[in-house]
């Protein structure tokens, strides 16, 4: 490993993008992710890249559409209300099969909501906030180091599959400081973007970037091709951390910030003689179904802890498929669950049956 620095989550996302070869960023400021734009406004010109503060989130996502169509490594970032505005563009980019990275540093909703941390955009990210049968790869880091590594990886995944990849964090992850160790050189995959609109030089037919297919048979075929790609991603790109699960009495499902809290709950529970496991999805889509299947015989139950009213818990229930009860504990509005309140919930479940 190379250079070691103390950085904020948002700064690390920006730095990782630069290291991954991203030379186009289009965004519009919104708390709690503005440091990404702030950092890139300073650094992008130094590496010969393009930074544009767009007039709106809608403009920014359509700039992403254009740059990705021309074969550039491109990123935009925002927070919940801004991501809602981008949904039309997200659907179009997905339809046109373009690679790009979107960062959502989630804040609490609905509506203008508030700026404090939340995970209430899970459904929007993994089930598709825009229209049509599309998917995005959704990565959920839980430390500053992982924000770095997954942001670099997000660009590779995007290029490999011609797909949108989303980094989903929250205000805590974006604002907190941790040590990060950078690699001397990034592993950047090289793909031949022979589909990009970069000029024919009169040597080939022109390329077309589009999501409109007038002939229904052709559109169905296009959709089938997209679905085949999504199945391939489900096979190859699942990322998950399982912690303390072998021999556990109960398994908690949690991602991002909440998973950090759970790791301390596990220590507290151990003192009281309860073995708690953690399944931490790192890709929210594709969801780590196999990890849940593997531990679906856990003696007591599953518990999904989230900063929302119960969203990922639905995918946990689908994965566990009725073999064990799946409970939920969540907080909203920017409130975070304390370690004690989660432990109390675990004790209630373990003693309850």
């Amino acid at each position: 490993m190379g250079e070691k620095l103390l950085m904020k989550g948002n700064e690390v996302i920006a730095e990782a993008a630069l290291r991954a070869g991203c030379r186009c960023y289009f965004g519009y400021p919104i708390t709690p992710q503005t440091e990404i734009a702030h950092y890139l406004a300073k650094k992008m010109p130094q590496v010969g890249g393009t930074f544009i503060q767009a007039e709106s989130e809608i403009a920014a996502i359509n700039m992403v559409y254009g740059a990705a169509g021309a074969g550039a490594r491109v990123m935009t970032s925002s927070s919940s209300p801004g991501i809602s505005l981008k949904q039309e563009g997200i659907s179009y980019i997905s339809g046109a099969e373009l690679p790009a990275v979107i960062v959502n540093i989630v804040r609490c909703g609905p509506g203008l909501g508030g700026i404090l941390p939340a995970q209430c955009d899970y459904f929007q990210a993994v089930k598709g906030g825009g229209h049509g049968d599309y998917k995005m790869v959704v990565l959920a880091p839980s430390s500053v180091q992982e924000l770095y590594e997954l942001t670099v990886e997000a660009f590779n995944i995007a290029d490999r599959y011609r797909i949108l990849t989303m980094i989903m964090g929250d205000g805590i992850l974006g604002q907190m400081m941790e040590t990060v160790e950078f690699r001397d050189e990034e592993e950047i995959i090289k793909v031949d973007k022979d589909w990009a609109t970069t000029g024919t030089e009169m040597k080939r037919d022109h390329n077309t970037i589009t999501s409109i297919y007038i002939n229904p048979e052709v559109l169905e075929k296009h959709n089938q091709k997209l679905q085949a790609k999504y199945r391939k991603i489900e096979e190859n790109e699942v990322r998950v951390e399982t912690f303390n699960c072998d021999g556990a009495d109960i398994i908690v499902a949690a991602y991002g910030t909440v998973a950090r809290i759970i790791k301390n709950v596990i220590k507290m529970a151990e003192k009281e003689g309860i073995k708690v496991g953690l399944i931490r999805p790192i890709t929210l889509w594709p969801f780590p179904v196999a990890a849940f299947e593997k531990y679906s015989e856990v003696p007591k139950a599953f518990l999904s802890v989230e900063l929302n009213a119960g969203q990922m818990v639905e995918d946990v229930r689908l994965a566990v498929n009725g073999k064990r009860p799946v409970y939920f504990h969540g907080r909203m509005g920017g409130m975070l669950p304390t370690q004690k309140e989660i432990l109390d919930k675990i004790k209630e479940i373990v003693k309850g049956d």
Binding site: L6, G114, T179, Q339, K340
Partner: protein, 244 residues
């Protein structure tokens, strides 16, 4: 180090200003209490002002109960740590330029953007007994060379309209900090000090590495405890509690 009435902490955002300011205020209040015990005539009080108009999270007010335990008056915007991001300043700031019995710590927001808030009180500060500290962590990407540190000093001075009077070495990797890191920070600041003429006031950091570094570097030390906590550092997590 603790003799000025007004103590203003500026720096690059993420340099650790808030931790330094909060711990500095606690130290000030302890010294005032000792002074009071020794001579009944002097009754100094301590106040800390959250002047951060940049950072929505991890603020002075997170340490409010700890500060109030020490009898420190905590002045912060009513919007701090709420669900709105309004860069407002508390009106009580004006009082502190009148109540001369207070020793005051200003915790200013990061970079030139945060320092802008200081410029509004420029006249009051310049006509008072003040110190303008510049807190540096050389392990932060925008202040990891003497050139970048000087650039940051320049833009903060330009924005606040006041010259920085002292440097503070707060070099750290949080809990992974070693004495060598602190010494490295000190050496870089010595270089900056030589070129700018601004002296180093003190070094701050977690007690163990700081005291070890203190055997090599000859500046006053301010051992600090981490009072601004992350959600997983709270209840029941003794491992991360650090004594001041």
């Amino acid at each position: 180090m603790f003799d000025r009435r007004i103590n203003i902490f500026t720096g690059h955002f993420g340099s650790g200003k808030t931790e330094v300011a909060v711990n500095f205020a606690i130290k000030l209040s302890e010294l005032s209490r000792k002074k009071f015990e020794h001579s009944a005539g002097i009754d100094e009080k301590t106040a800390i002002v959250d002047m951060d108009i940049i950072n929505p999270f991890f603020r002075t007010v997170d340490a409010k109960s700890e500060l109030e335990k020490h009898g420190i008056w905590v002045i912060s915007s009513i919007y701090a740590n709420t669900n709105v991001d309004i860069p407002a300043l508390p009106s009580e700031i004006y009082t502190l330029f009148e109540k001369k019995e207070y020793k005051v710590v200003f915790d200013v927001g990061g970079d030139d953007l945060g320092a802008k808030a200081v410029s509004r009180f420029r006249q009051e500060i310049l006509s008072d007994d003040y110190e303008l500290f510049f807190v540096v962590n050389v392990k932060r990407p925008m202040t990891d060379t003497p050139e970048k540190i000087k650039e940051m000093i320049y833009i903060i001075e330009e924005s606040s309209g006041i010259k920085i009077t002292k440097l503070v070495n707060n070099t750290n990797y949080l809990f992974d900090t070693t004495a060598e890191d602190i010494i490295e920070g000190h050496k870089m600041l010595e270089e900056v000090s030589k070129e700018t003429g601004v002296p180093i006031a003190f070094a701050s950091g977690l007690r163990k590495p700081l005291e070890e570094a203190g055997q090599v570097i000859k500046v006053p030390l301010l051992p600090i405890g981490k009072l601004i906590k992350l959600p997983w550092e709270q209840d029941g997590d003794e491992g991360l509690e650090i004594e001041i």
